[in-house]
Amino acid sequence: MDQQALRALEACCVQEEPPFCSAACPLRVDVRAFMAALTKGDTRSARRVLDRHMPFPAIVGRLCEAPCQAACKRIEVDSTLAIGLLERYCVAATEQVLKPPKMPAKGGRVAVAGGGLFGMTAALDLARKGREVHLFTPAKELGGTLEEKFRSHLPDDAFIQAASTLSGYGAHLHFQVRLDADALKAFAQDYEALCLDGNEIDMAGLPFAASTPDPVTLAVNDVGCFGGGAPNGPDFQVIRQVADGRRAALSVERFLQKVSLTAEREREGSISTRLFTSIEQVQPQAAILPASGAEYNSTEARAEASRCIQCECLECVKQCAFLQEFKEYPKTLVRRVYNNLSIVQGTRSANTMINSCSLCSQCTIICPHDFPMAALCRDARERMVQTEHMPPSAHDFALEEMRFTLGDACSLARHQPGMDASRYLFFPGCQLAGSAPEQVSATYQFLMDQLQGGVGLLLSCCGIPAQWAGDEALFQETLASLQATLDAFGKPELICACTSCLALVRKHLPAYASTSLWEILAALEHLPPECRTPTQPLALHDPCGARDNAGLRASVRQLCGRLGVQLHDTTMPEELADCCGYGGLMQFANQPLGRKAATVKAGRSEYPALAYCAMCRDNVAGAGKASAHLLEYLFPGKAGDDPLERANPGFSLRHENRSRLKEQLMHSLWQETAGDAPAHSALRLIIAPDLTSLLESRHILHEDVQKVIFHAEQGGNYLLNPENGHRLAKYKPVRVTYWVEYEATDNGFIVHNSYSHRMVLPEALP
């Protein structure tokens, strides 16, 4: 990712765009912060906000026409906030809190002709910037020709205070000066820049060559003369005088610095904002009117300010456990990812964050600008793998499981028994084979009975774990092997039970026909004869893998309808579905977050869950929610158990189920025996249930335990505790060293504990 790509991604996220009120305000007053402070009753902090952004708050705060109000988002719910009245309340209730600093004097003499709000603002901004400012007015005090209808709202000494503020910043004020042609000519000659306040000067009759003020720079000529402000009349607006004064001051500053007057001034004045704010959850709340008829009291002000909905986007964060966990929104997250990838030496503190995203793209669907979070995090992982900065522990376990599934123990590719060609190839996917092997067998039998032309079987892995892990080499290798199988089988139509397999195959092997099991089943005339209607209402939990496949989701709903399921949607249905924590290998790289994601998904409905993704089924069940897989109703198990009561089988059982499924199918369908099982698999383990969950959380498979004990017992290399007869042994099959504390009995090995580490001990070195 280069700087340009970073900027483009950052721009995709609108969370930091100004709220609607501040965007409409030409002074960019932080109305949101102002309202937050007032809501807390913290009037001083509210005043600080005005002091920071607004020149002469005691005047402008009372007179501003509040163009922000028309932009207030609240108007879409009930009525706009009374921002203007609240500003009046605030400046009346407080004295100045914040005095913006004055920069060191840096030369540059500027004359401001005219003491209206335009001239006052220009003089103030320039004085604060350290310029030597001289303000001239024919009047006895500041304020120009401001009409009584405005003045009546101000304290008597408002303009005396303003003069004192200006003097405090070092501005020189010259009252009762005739601003005739000679004076203006002299200013133009004697000062490096000149600001003309149209409130006291006839801009049409200037004594030197000048055009009407340029709308962007307010320049009237190219030798440093700027003009703005307006005479009294129907078009006179206080906020316009002030905004123009600020604009003119910036132009003067740039003129004196000899830099471009026009560059990057698009965001000045009232602007539009790209911020998105949902008002879906905003409850109507009647506007508070001042009981006095004119001004708020403190209670009323607080109540009215509390109607502010604090506009922001955060639509993705509201739903995503990952973004909530890391307290980021996409714009800040992309910066952390970028910084993490840029580190040459030092701690890559965002590794875990990058590996924790489920890559499910829920945020992208929700985002008004389709922020591509999955691509960002996945590409970052690929980069980490390429540069050898991927923490090995993040994905090792999942990738070892993937290799196991691809290996001889589990993988199988056969034409339908008795046939030598396949029109279809049933691909249940690794997790369904692990979670519900009985349903895989039954589904395969049904497909063979129903479909003509031969249905082959492929027990394997599509490679998505490697893709999620950023291990592009392993992914390409797996994909090539899948492609070779499809070629060898004569390019049959691949029937995927897993939505993630299907999405991957369609994206990476687009030339090969593929479909979902659900669309195939929905198109058949009959449901399986043994199918069973669930006795209670269920909530359909769509998987993240089906996000881009409306047809697949419709087929599932059609099947549920025919099955007579009393079906409910979750609160995040269809393309909005959450990931269960398996996606992107989240639950491996960040186990606690994986559990949270599963709990969030489980909590999206009060009803028991019906899933059609094996990992959704298992993880939602693991989160304590009764959960069944649709295949368990279409092809109920022979034991007749309630599928809603089935626990999460966990890694170990899924691992064993996959190899057992291959063994059983080879035997029952093709009358073949699988290769010899490894010797360690014959060891009988006795594991207490609470230890089983500890092993799951430590990612230690029963097979790992078997390997440790087998090697220890074979070589006699273990430690012995004479006090209780327990043995303690270790074994390092690949990268992880596993330790098992166990006891040898006649019935098998009682496992008392197991743990692992990745650090390598001297005796384990090659």
Binding site: L719, L720, P722, L728, Y755, H757
Partner: protein, 69 residues
């Protein structure tokens, strides 16, 4: 280089050598880093004990630190 010690009396004995475990200096490695530590080990065959609290405590902590380097 100073050697960190993680030794403490243990009931475990080496079954193969029928020996008590003794503090022993060993070099453990991870991701191109070598750490010289003192662990309990069989003085005869060198079987090194990594107790559970060390494996899931300090050792895990260091592994994670190194992984993020």
């Amino acid at each position: 280089m100073s050697t960190l010690s993680f030794t403490h009396p243990t009931s475990w004995r080496c079954a193969a050598c029928n020996q008590d475990l003794q503090p022993q200096k060993v070099a453990v490695t991870y991701l191109h880093s070598v750490f010289h530590v003192e662990l309990m080990a069989c003085s005869q065959c060198g079987f090194v004990l990594v107790p559970e609290d060390l494996a899931i405590g300090k050792m895990l902590e260091v592994e994670q630190l190194l992984e993020d380097k």
